[in-house]
Symmetry: C2
């Protein structure tokens, strides 16, 4: 068998599950916990939507287009944090599937004004339903007050992170 050093872990908030590894200093970092939860969550969503061949970024892109009609590809790229060349591929697929359309902007002919179609909106409803299910499987452990607080903390962190870049 394998021997293990005892490592102090000051920020551990719940008991480790039996058989779990010692996290060492890694356990002191919020970023590690964040990644761990997020990985798990996105794997759950991926396997719940595996039959649709949903490529990365497509869901959130469609959602942002629906919420912001007339959005440009550049604005979309910035919001999802991906290169504009990736956005081209995403919008290509959205158009091919009939979920969104590119229209030339009338005020600036370089820009594409993106719009979700009725089919796209319907598809979104479906995906949101699945996302809600997979999230609830994890979030039902938290009270509504805790959920609200969690969102608030994450928003404050995100705002601080964006500020760092500028």
């Amino acid at each position: 068998m394998r021997e293990r050093k005892i490592v102090k872990n000051p920020s551990r908030a719940v008991a480790p599950r039996p058989g779990a590894l010692n996290l060492g200093r890694l356990g002191e970092f919020v970023g590690f916990r964040l990644r761990r939860v997020q990985n798990q969550l996105s794997k759950d969503f991926a396997s719940a939507t595996a039959d649709r061949g949903l490529r990365a970024g497509l869901f959130s892109s469609l959602s942002l287009i629906a919420a912001n009609p007339g959005l440009s590809q550049n604005e979309l790229s910035r919001e999802i944090g991906l290169d504009k060349s990736v956005t081209v591929a995403i919008v290509d697929e959205l158009e091919r599937s009939g979920w969104a359309v590119r229209e030339r902007s009338e005020t600036d002919r370089r820009r594409h004004a993106l719009h979700a179609t009725a089919a796209g909106e319907a598809y979104l409803e479906e995906l949101f339903g699945i996302l809600e299910q997979t999230e609830n499987a994890v979030l039902h452990q938290l009270s509504p007050a805790e959920l609200l607080l969690l969102s608030e903390l994450l928003d404050r962190m995100y705002a601080a992170a964006l500020h760092e870049d500028s």
Copy 2:
């Protein structure tokens, strides 16, 4: 310019920054906020360590090996959530760089008992220092109590997510 629909966003906890897009229903989901923050955090860390050519998973792997001397590659794979074939490449690089070594387990000759070297431990200290800096840039917005609570909530979510899989 672009016109925008007004979309209700019940779980928004802080005011959107000016010029920010409407998140629509996406803003109702914790997973989205989680991903957003985590992406930003990992980009910050990546650019702070860009000069070292740090491949994905290497840092956390080395950290886990250091905290659990004698760890097998299989156990490591499970903990970092990657396939064992990926772990081979990671351990190859750790060994090539002199940060860890493979030793044959004496009780089960199929297993490799992984150990961090002194150089590996020193390298870890360096990386933890950088991680601490990049995290602090974002986390100094939160009080110690809030940080503790955040960790606890994330741990509960992770535990629930793991339970889902089984």
